[in-house]
């Protein structure tokens, strides 16, 4: 399922809203989640799961082609942990 299919399914269930409204809503949901993660905030969606930011420390790596040392700066990585309800649901 893609984002546009999600919009499609949502608008089928919500007859009082136009597809354009549904598009705006879905975009807003993911946009707000992105902004929260950027602020370093944890997102907890009860029944679905939680998103957190993990920090990968800076390290010295190597260019596998040339063997040259390269400095890899610290970076943030989004991490998702599935919620109990959803984990059980996909195993039913």
């Amino acid at each position: 399922m893609t984002k546009s299919e999600l919009v499609e399914r949502l608008s089928e269930k919500l007859e009082f809203l136009t597809k354009k409204d549904c598009e705006l809503i879905v975009e807003t949901v993911f946009e707000s989640m992105k902004e929260a993660l950027k602020r370093g905030e944890k997102i907890e969606i009860r029944g679905f799961g939680s998103f957190t930011i993990r920090v990968r420390k800076a390290k010295t790596g190597r260019n596998p082609k040339t063997g040259e040392k390269v400095f890899i700066p610290e970076k943030k990585v989004p991490f998702f942990k599935v919620g109990k309800e959803l984990r059980e649901m996909i195993n039913e």
């Binding site: 399922m1 893609t2 984002k3 999600l6 399914r9 949502l10 269930k13 919500l14 409204d21 705006l24 809503i25 879905v26 807003t28 949901v29 993911f30 707000s32 989640m33 992105k34 902004e35 929260a36 993660l37 950027k38 602020r39 905030e41 944890k42 997102i43 907890e44 969606i45 009860r46 029944g47 679905f48 799961g49 998103f51 930011i53 970076k75 943030k76 990585v77 989004p78 991490f79 998702f80 599935v82 309800e85 959803l86 984990r87 649901m89 996909i90 195993n91 039913e92």
Partner: protein, 99 residues
């Protein structure tokens, strides 16, 4: 951030009642859950992909008792953040919450 915060944003941005906004946010996640339950993956461009993976049974050990046991076959959900999301959270650009 919780579902309640998402409800608030939707309420402010789209001309809906709080009750409607709440129902819609719940609906979005329940559609996603139903989809994953069917084993179908979800691709949200600019955000990331949710994929259900099949795990084979394997031998494991209870770390507390040291006892051998079999870990049964199961399905797990993985999330892979999109390149755009990774770049966004690491960028210096100041976020502007468009209201």
């Amino acid at each position: 951030m919780t579902k309640a915060d998402l409800v608030e944003v939707i309420y402010e941005k789209v001309g809906l009642s709080k009750k409607e906004a709440k129902e819609i946010v719940e609906m979005i996640f329940s559609i996603m859950k139903e989809t994953l339950k069917e084993g179908e993956k979800i691709k949200i461009s600019g955000f990331g992909n949710f994929v259900v993976r099949e795990k084979k049974p394997r031998r494991g050990r209870n770390p507390q008792t040291g006892e051998d046991l079999e870990i049964s076959a199961r399905r797990v959900l993985t999330f892979k953040a999109s390149q755009l999301l990774k770049e966004y959270i690491n960028s210096a650009e100041t976020e502007e919450v468009s209201q």
